[in-house]
């Protein structure tokens, strides 16, 4: 199959996700699609798979213009999109999943299980997957589930398979297995579009590449003509640096350790050690699946550690009880405000009070005046725009909701602040005031750990930067060593496989 996408544009409201992007994939080709988060990769692939139509531009397959692409049409054209998050029903068997929505029938209504089973097993065997089509999906590990997704794509003899970050949950061995399957299929005439942030993988498996940045086409070419450093530079381009917040506020960096982590291990990370100093902002970053998400919640006792110790100045922490951790002077602003931050039915005032209630409030009754005064003080400090603090929190904009969540934790006056992606999904103005607040907290002598994957944020905030790659610390960069290229290289495994 030869795919040509020409001059594709697509916007969502005021956001132009794709601007005049052209993209082509030849037959028997594995094509790496590169770009940072928000560069437009997934949008482009959704246009190709018919999830939504482009505002302008055409899709041509083997020279024929395809009008009005839909997911069904894409399937008929033998295009399969394997999404980043697995779309399998855990309680069904492997073959039921593979045929979901496209069941074989006999007499027009009865599911032909026997024929489905045979077909599914044939495909699974041809991949050397070692998976029995009868298995319940819940019993498979993540790599095997990924195999089932690929098998599903093969079942209907696809000619173009789109894979969006398929290796996020796989280990090196499993990745190799996936690659050997891809190579064999390529020889049989299947083309792939391979989306990944991990440079070594792109360079291992892809024949050609295309780079997108900010919805624009940047460059296409043969992988053999460039190296990983050139690719990284294409990816980030010339980064625009804003005026520096840290310059305006006097730093209070000291040698005094407020939090000491030794050999922390969890399910998705291992051997993480660091010391956080009073007045310091330590940024922890890594690609999706690098273990940063779990590390963040583990530091707060919200996820179980499997090994290692955490100590504050008053001794080791018992990490099984969030409340106990809070009382020892640690606060955490969680990621994903909607799922983990806000209590959508509660008033702004109550949302603000929760952590205070848990950690500091004594006495039987709540004094409403005192509760209001606490919120008013926060509101002034953070510039939260509210009508009445008795309105439900969902009446606020995303940025203001996030400020209320931050304020919830400021009430604790903790020594250590863990901020897990504190500016996720909020506008630039609100982001800036949150950066300012974080720098102020450090200047007041707090230790702050910020988890983020956005470079401008790292650049604005970090005194030091811990980079994780596949669950292991890849680098601890000092402020002078931090650059977008360095962080990208460490987090994609191009440089320094493992620290220590």
């Amino acid at each position: 199959m030869i795919l040509e996408m020409k001059n594709i544009s697509k916007s969502f409201g005021a956001v132009q996700a794709l601007k005049d992007v052209s993209f082509s994939v030849g037959s028997k080709e594995i094509h790496g699609l590169l770009g940072e988060n928000g560069a437009g990769k997934t949008t482009l692939m959704n246009v190709l798979a018919g999830t939504f139509g482009p505002d302008a531009g055409t899709i041509e397959i083997d020279g024929n213009i395809i009008e009005g692409m839909t997911p069904k049409k894409a399937a008929q054209l033998k295009i399969r999109f394997i999404h980043q998050e697995l779309n399998l029903c855990n309680d069904l068997t492997v073959f039921q999943n593979m045929f979901l929505g496209e069941e074989f029938t006999k007499q027009g209504w009865m599911v032909d299980k026997k024929r489905e089973m045979e077909q599914a097993q044939k495909v699974l065997d041809s991949m050397n997957s070692g998976i029995d089509a009868h298995t319940i999906v819940a019993e498979l590990d993540t790599a095997q589930k990924q195999m089932v997704e690929i098998a599903r794509a093969l079942l209907f003899s696809s000619e173009l398979i789109i894979m969006d970050e398929p290796t996020t949950a796989l280990n090196n061995q499993e990745i190799e297995k996936l690659f050997s399957i891809m190579e064999r299929l390529k020889d049989e005439g299947v083309s792939f579009i391979y989306i990944s942030h991990k440079m070594p993988e792109i360079f291992r498996i892809c024949d050609r590449y295309t780079v997108l940045r900010d919805g624009l086409f940047i460059k296409s070419g043969f992988i053999r003509d460039i190296d990983e450093h050139q690719a990284t530079e294409l990816l980030i381009g010339k980064s625009f640096v804003q005026a520096h917040i840290k310059d305006g506020i006097k730093a209070a960096l000291t040698k005094e350790v407020v939090l000491k982590a030794a050999n922390l291990s969890g399910r998705s990370f291992s051997n993480v050690s660091f010391e956080l100093h009073r007045g310091e902002i330590l940024v922890c970053t890594g690609l999706q699946g690098s273990g940063t998400d779990e590390l963040a919640t583990s530091l707060f006792g919200a996820t179980m550690l499997t090994g290692g110790t955490l100590e504050t100045q008053s001794g080791p922490l018992a990490m099984h009880d969030i409340k106990a951790v809070m009382r020892r002077g640690i606060a955490m602003v969680p990621r994903n405000r909607k799922e983990r931050g806000i209590l959508p039915d509660l008033s702004i005032r109550n949302n603000n009070s929760l952590a205070y209630f848990v950690s500091k409030h004594t006495g039987l009754l709540v004094n409403k005046n005192e509760e209001k005064q606490r919120f008013d003080a926060s509101q002034k400090r953070l510039g939260i725009k509210v009508g009445s603090d008795l309105d439900v929190i969902t009446s606020l904009s995303g940025g203001n909701q996030q400020k209320v969540i931050l304020s919830r934790w400021l009430e604790l006056d903790a020594d250590v602040y863990i901020m897990d992606n504190p500016t996720q999904g909020i506008d630039v103005g609100a982001k800036f005031s949150i950066y300012k607040l974080i720098v102020e907290l450090a200047a007041q002598g707090k230790g702050v750990i910020v988890f983020t994957s956005e470079y401008p944020e790292i650049h604005q905030l970090a005194d030091r930067c811990l980079v994780l790659y596949k669950g292991k610390p890849a680098a601890m960069l000092s402020r002078d060593e931090i650059s977008e290229v360095a962080i990208m290289e460490y987090s994609t495994g191009t440089r320094g496989e493992v620290l220590n």
Binding site: I322, E339, L343, A355, H361
Partner: protein, 325 residues
């Protein structure tokens, strides 16, 4: 023209406020009007107190249900728990001849029952629906076995003083009415003036976020069931006092339905997170008014359950319409 649109908007906002935040008051007043129209004698003191007497015991249970539903859970074991405790309560009374002991037994047994539900939900990680469905079946079975088909009847020597607890009046106000008002005020204060109340709504609104704010979600859930259990214990004590003879198979029958219905028409969100204790209180009264109106309209009493079922569905539909906007 501009002035007119503005006032229209004002009217609309006020209307939304009334139908949104005060919908339970609105429906209460409307129902009351219907009742008065159907029967002009509805608003006599005698009838009003009678409504309270009829609704008090279920009403006390509904206060517990209010907390459980606000935290995003459900309790189906209300009726069976009340039957179990009141049956045993009569036995304790007859053997000890002490009303205070019987009272303490009922509260203690209620607390224990609530604790069992709560621990099965939190430590056992079983859905509240399943846990309370099981205890509903279990408790009814136990009390049926104990009663062997016959009733638990209060001994003659204890009859008069014991019955006076539920049947008595102070200044022509029935004790049961006072009990209901007291429990409503107590629960209302608990939910609006203490941090525990905020925790209950927080757990019902977003359990994950509540946990990450440091709230011990399991403990909150267990305490909710325990508090509700204590109220069921009180209800059981009052039921035994009111009837003086407890039929194992039928005592407390359908209490969970009436309690859920009262909470639903009182404006508490069935998904948890939002609710008002005063709403549940009005909900209890509304159920009584509807019941009375049905009787006056000669609707056969067998259809009461149908009416309760329809009320729950209509109340929840009204809530989901509000959310949809």
């Amino acid at each position: 023209m501009k002035g007119l649109t503005l006032s229209r908007n004002q009217v609309r906002d006020t209307w939304r406020n009334v139908t949104g935040n005060y919908s339970h008051w609105l429906s209460f007043v409307l129902l009351l009007l219907v009742a008065v129209i159907v029967s002009p004698s509805f608003l006599t003191w005698n009838n009003i107190t009678n409504q309270f007497v009829q609704g008090a015991i279920v009403g006390i249970c509904a206060m517990g249900m209010s907390l459980i539903i606000s935290a995003g859970m459900i309790d189906l074991s209300v009726g069976s728990t009340v039957a179990l405790i009141s049956g045993f309560g009569v036995m304790v009374l007859n053997s000890t001849h002490s009303i205070p002991l019987a009272f303490l037994f009922c509260l203690g047994a209620g607390i224990l029952g609530g604790l069992i539900n709560g621990l099965l939900v939190t430590k056992g990680r079983i859905a509240p629906f399943i846990v309370t469905l099981a205890t509903m079946s279990a408790w009814r079975s136990v009390i049926n076995q104990m009663g062997q088909g016959g009733p638990f009847t209060v001994d003659k020597d204890m009859y008069a003083p014991f019955r006076a607890i539920a049947a008595g009046r102070i200044l022509s106000i029935p004790h049961l009415m006072l009990f209901l008002i007291f429990i409503t005020v107590l629960t209302g204060l608990l939910m609006s003036k203490t941090k525990f109340g905020t925790y209950v709504y927080a757990v019902g609104s977003n359990q994950q976020a509540a946990r990450l704010s440091g709230i011990n979600v399991n403990r909150v859930k267990t305490l909710i069931f325990t508090y509700a259990g204590m109220l069921y214990g009180l209800a059981a004590f009052l039921l035994a006092s009111r009837l003086t003879s407890i039929q194992a198979a039928s005592a407390g029958m359908g209490y969970e339905m009436d309690a859920i219905a009262a909470v639903a028409i009182g404006g508490t969100s069935m998904d948890g997170g939002r609710g008002k204790i005063i709403g549940t209180f009005l909900g209890v009264l509304m159920l009584r008014i509807i019941n009375t109106v049905l009787i006056m309209a000669n609707v056969p009493p067998f259809l009461n359950g149908l009416v309760t079922g329809v009320i729950i569905i209509v109340a929840v539909l009204a809530q989901s319409n509000k959310k949809g906007k």
